[in-house]
Symmetry: C2
């Protein structure tokens, strides 16, 4: 038996586009004599469709998509993920289903049983869990059909669910497992995924074909890396990351388990590639081509500019240098050097005159009051306004250049440097931004060395440095990581050896700045806990604040 | 037996404050010889605690709060909602529990079985559902202890759950039902709630004490209105809405069912009071006193100013009139009249000079290009910046004045008129804003009549009217209501008699403007479907767009 797996880049709600893409893959698989082709979870409608699932019209369109694919299941079986209606009146209205289409009909439908409802996942909001499990019999083989999380309740110290679908299916003696996934990237996820797939094949003694989605959906990057694993735990094949791919396998060969090839994974390379895909798909799927961003001479905007240029092409990225009286000469030069290294169109727009026109305008109100954060924010907001005006006039999307450390502690100006349609490095801590810059420069200087080595500064008042207001990033980032990614409380973090006052201050800053993060652009997620849909915090509260 | 119910205003994560408040109520109830006092759902930690629940430290503090309350359960039983740990390793780590505290100990704990996971609710994200149901025996009575949603699976045409906790409890012959709730306001919710409570008492033939939370938590307004209902469906008592209250009842009297008094509910009065509480608690719980907003002379900012003044006191609300060359004379006068009617401090700050300084600055880039949306947005953003600068200098929170119709179709400028820390009327359609203005003026003119009767205009170019860009609001709002609140698709809305092109355009505008709503302030929720945490839509998609 020959099995094709296709990791494709779907577009949420674009049923026609998604079906066309799958029809093309079905033709390719047939040309390679495949008996079965399998796509990823909810591939008709794209993942995650979120509250579109609550619209009957949306579900009807998904059903029509399945019907079109069923027609193409002629001489080949097609396995596709799509929402299906729950015929029972009690419970949620939908299932998250895998359709097994053969001989131009729906041969079988298996619903998902384990519905992730944590972090970025909301599946119990929409779906009823499966209560029946039945292998699919096709061409003399018995197939355990599973959807994503269904294989994830194994080998955990703290299992999230009380049942295990594969345990239910095994008495029916399946020959192999098909798993339709939509598993989003974080820089540890590929390893975790391989561990989970291996735990399954080793426990059940049968091979698995694991098909992931490959494409970015706003903040979520589905990274592909689909797996074919033999029962002995060998990786028969691992599809590329961050791109579409279709490959065909001979089941008997996979069963032999003689091949074991795993791709080398480098944290910074994966983060880099994930963000590039994230930017590319955000623009492509929204129908935009051109980005604009402010270039300060600092490392955050430099890294953002490089990633944007790689995602969109240097001809599609315009940068604006907006020095004020507080900007150092070298900042402007560093920014120019970078723009020239990347071949980007750049403008230099001095903000001092507009800044003074605001001060003059507000003189009656501000009379006699000293320079403070107000005037700092004014500068940042003038820059934001210039970028927004340019984007309005020329049809760019403004890219936000905030890093995760700043976003965490609220070291940024709402509607100023926090503006933009997409936060490119908002899930990358400052210390990781430096690593990313080094990775970008690995084959030669793209980001000026001076940008990397100088002390970080917002340059909003004379001789300002980030370290005037914030702890050193190498300590701050470690505390933030414990609080955000590891969900450790103050006592637990202090016990790791950090100074109590520093820990309490950092956690307080994170909590009191929830209101700022609430109003910022979607953040491309590269860690296991990013700001955005996966981290839901009260704005008004009084906890560690 | 005497039963006290207390609907209190809790503060998320403020364990000490919440416990102090409950201890005071326990003393009051004891003074009135109550045998039992019952508080609302998750009253130790406040509702909704959201992802704070994922921190062990937070759960530990909730446990400590329960221990403090247990000590006070001396001569009185105390029923309190709090998270509790799931001792079973499989499944979610927590339960959403009702603690029955008596004789300074935990007499019994009943977990919640029905976990709302829709709209603004995320309970399955955190909690494992109860699988055991046992009445509490106390002073010769058998009490059916339930948490919020547990009583909501009755009388629905489309029940969300496959089990019904009260059906499980009834064989144990309870004498009455206690229900600990945190049920957020929308303008139909009080009626729905009474219907649900009545369905229960009539089905099971026993009375119910229904205790709701009373306080605002960012966007959610918990409106109180706790209920004591006799088995015959008579409303023995209905607590006030939007305020704290403690009352004590004699169980035998409630059983007799001789009293039936229901408060009159007026949609606009309830929306008005809900928003006033929402603003008041947003400021109070964040530790702010003063608000600032722009007053354009239009109806949205007028209504917002009135609501803010009623929430915070007129001495705490400052308004800024920011006319440009496109502002009409009457707008400035209307705004001044309102400020004077309300006794608000106001500033007039003309934006024309700053506007021209931007145009001059951007001349090299914009040379030869016509006036368009860019220049309109510039004006709106200058106003936003002035408000933000004032708020930075004087310690205000900026109030956002966008209405739901604008927010829906993206008729607003990001970082301009869409700025602010809290959206006051962002869940009120434009046509309802007019109703609210009439309600405000019911006893005399507060909002100038001219503000109410003139055609809505953004005044960002000469002689502009909203109706140049948008359908008339009386049609638009009806389409939006069908799409947003009723989740009807285009075909269903067209079949209601609306013009196809108009429907498709309106729905498209809603969907393509998700990116704007993503970056706006929390919206005080007054309808059954508000923008914000209860409506989760993809930003990048291609559905009806």
């Amino acid at each position: 038996m020959k099995i094709a797996i296709a990791q494709l880049n779907f577009h949420i709600g674009n049923f026609d586009g998604n079906v066309e893409k799958m029809l093309k893959s079905i033709e390719e698989a047939k040309a390679q004599a495949a008996d079965i082709i399998c796509f990823s979870e909810l591939s008709t409608c794209g993942y995650p469709p979120r509250d579109f699932l609550e619209f009957d019209d949306f579900i009807k369109k998904a059903e029509e998509a399945v019907a079109r694919l069923a027609k193409a299941a002629d001489g080949i079986a097609v396995v596709v993920g799509s929402p299906s209606k729950n015929p029972v009146i009690e419970g949620k209205d939908l299932f998250n289903s895998a359709y097994f289409l053969a001989d131009q009909e729906v041969l079988q439908v298996q619903h998902k049983a384990l519905l992730p409802t944590y972090d970025i996942f909301d599946e119990y909001r929409y779906f009823e869990p499966a209560s029946e499990f039945k292998v699919v019999e096709y061409k003399g083989k018995r197939i355990a059909l599973t959807v994503c999380e269904d294989i994830w309740n194994i080998g955990n110290e703290n299992p999230l669910y009380t049942i295990c679908p594969m345990d239910e299916l095994m008495p029916q003696q399946p020959d192999f497992i098909l798993n339709l996934s939509a598993s989003p990237f974080n820089y540890n996820q590929a390893d975790t995924r391989i561990h989970v797939v291996r735990s399954n094949v080793e426990r059940y003694g049968i091979p698995m074909f694991y098909i992931n989605h490959a494409g970015a959906q706003t903040e979520l990057i589905f990274d592909g890396g689909s797996l074919v694993m033999s029962a002995n735990g060998n990786i028969h094949d691992e599809l590329p990351y961050f791109e579409e791919c279709l490959r065909v396998y001979d089941l008997e060969e996979v069963k032999r388990g003689e091949i074991n090839r795993e791709q080398v994974k480098n944290k910074m390379a994966m983060i880099h590639d994930a963000i590039v895909l994230g930017v590319k798909d955000y623009f492509g799927k929204l129908g935009f081509e051109k980005a604009i961003l402010g270039l300060s001479g600092g490392i955050d905007s430099a890294v953002t500019a490089v990633l944007a240029a790689r995602a969109l092409g240097n001809e599609n990225v315009r940068v604006v240098l907006m020095p004020s009286q507080f900007s150092s000469d070298h900042s402007v030069q560093d920014a120019k050097d970078l723009a020239e290294n990347l071949g980007l169109q750049y403008d230099v727009i001095e903000i001092e005159k507009v800044y003074h026109s605001y001060l003059k305008l507000l003189e009656p109100q501000f009379a006699g009051m000293p320079f403070n954060i107000t005037e700092e924010n004014l500068q940042a907001r003038i820059r934001g306004m210039i970028l927004m005006a340019m984007s309005n006039k020329f049809g760019h999307i403004v890219l936000n250049t905030s890093n995760k450390s700043e976003a965490a502690v609220g070291y940024g100006t709402l509607y100023g440097d926090m503006c933009g349609g997409l936060s490119v490095i908002g899930d990358v801590y400052k210390t990781e931004v430096f690593e990313l810059a080094r990775y970008i420069n690995k084959d030669g200087e793209i980001i000026p060395e001076n940008t990397i080595i100088k002390p970080p500064s917002a340059e909003l008042r004379p001789n300002q440095k980030d370290s005037d207001s914030l702890p050193e990033y190498d300590i701050l980032d470690k505390i933030l990581y414990q609080y955000i990614e590891k969900r450790q409380g103050p006592q637990e973090i202090i016990e790791l050896g950090f100074e109590e006052a520093l820990v309490r201050r950092a956690l307080r800053l994170v909590n009191i700045n929830e209101f700022k993060r609430h109003q910022t652009a979607p953040v491309i997620r590269v860690s296991s806990k990013a700001f955005g849909m996966g981290r839901r915090m009260p704005i008004v509260g009084k906890y560690l604040s």
